[in-house]
Symmetry: C2
Amino acid sequence: MTVTAIAYADLVGAPAQDVRAAIRAEAYQGHTSGLAAGKLQCNLAILPERYALDFLRFCQRNPKPCPIVGVSDSGDPFLPTLGHDIDIRSDVSKYRVFRDGNLSDEVTDITNVWTGDMVTVALGCSFTFENALLRNGIPVRHIETGKNVPMFRSNIDLVRAGPFSGKMVVTMRPIPAALVDQATRISGQYPQAHGAPIATGDPAQIGIADLSQPDWGEAVEIKPGEVPVYWACGVTPQNVLLAANLPLCITHSPGHMLISDVAEDAETTILKTA
Amino acid sequence: MTVTAIAYADLVGAPAQDVRAAIRAEAYQGHTSGLAAGKLQCNLAILPERYALDFLRFCQRNPKPCPIVGVSDSGDPFLPTLGHDIDIRSDVSKYRVFRDGNLSDEVTDITNVWTGDMVTVALGCSFTFENALLRNGIPVRHIETGKNVPMFRSNIDLVRAGPFSGKMVVTMRPIPAALVDQATRISGQYPQAHGAPIATGDPAQIGIADLSQPDWGEAVEIKPGEVPVYWACGVTPQNVLLAANLPLCITHSPGHMLISDVAEDAETTILKTA
């Protein structure tokens, strides 16, 4: 079968279901930032059922980095509470497959990896509150400059559940000092998307040695009059899953999120299912 | 051992830990409404581990009636994310024990019923948003009149997970028409406590035939100029658990909630654990 590639620019402004259809058809394999504006995008963790209860407990105990927005039935690839006809085996543009704690493959479809005991856990993503910051006139440096957000391993202990534990990963965004309170209030309105900041100011207070050396993503400039502001990051659960050395788990590739049909500002992340 | 009974009035204004200590000592066996003001109180579901994953999925899919605020490790009676030294076997003033879908016992301690595979799920409770309504000058009729809140079985389908399904139970509070928007906004700030109303006005729209005939609790007067306002109710999960005919499950008795050390207005329900 020949698939005609669709460019990112052609998907900007398209409805969520059209973007997922392009991804399912393998016509689009890029990142999802800026696509399906206004719809919740999700981090993904797909893991064997026998680890799912502990993983849900872990997420419940660490709601800032790991806000649960959807959970599938065991072995069921569909996620009806997050969207119409979402097939998690094909509707994400890029996946990472981990075996025994090591990256095994990066693929655009996991139909061949899916097993009858897999559980999908969808977690909220920072795109939601970044969009809200931008709508309210608060600059977001890495978006302005076309970079990936800088991410840092902090010294903040996560609350353990079963094999899942570790330190919180945080993102950093420089915010003009006069706008920090507003940025805190706005992001705090999105508990399903990491909520209010974890910390502001001195990186040493949360164990970050050098803001110019992020552990993931790219460094951004902090201009005079700006304060570094730290939010809990969706890379946290990926790290925790890796460290737990599961025989098999699957995540999205960074930036290649699941696009849901749930409105970003909905009171809950559960689509009204008829 | 002789226990000196403590009266409700003597516990009003006492810290949460003192109230729990009185309950643990069996010196107080009454309801918890109005106690440990400002602290989150919780509905309880304690069930065998093999049902816990489905029950957590059920709660995640029905966040308005079933807002998850704490989950124990399997077989561990403590809940460190909700409070200091909470022993769920003794720190609730009255429990209901259900076997095969029938009420088996109402007891003040479940140490003898507890087994090594039990999981405790704590869910938010309407006390939180009622306190917020009262603080903001919005009257709450059943509290004014010393009654139990009227509860009704609605026709709103819950989203199924495994053996758990059914219809949503709602509470009704008459609110002056001019204050309905404010009541909606205030309660919406407490997603961990049922959030904004499910419906307002005509009870027939959600399948309620007669507001003077509640299915649980007591009827309250709706005065001229007031609108009936309906919120998702914490009795919903108890009903759903009963209907699932589990061999064993334990809940609190109505009104006899778990008192946590988490502030009602905290951003998350996870106590900072050192």
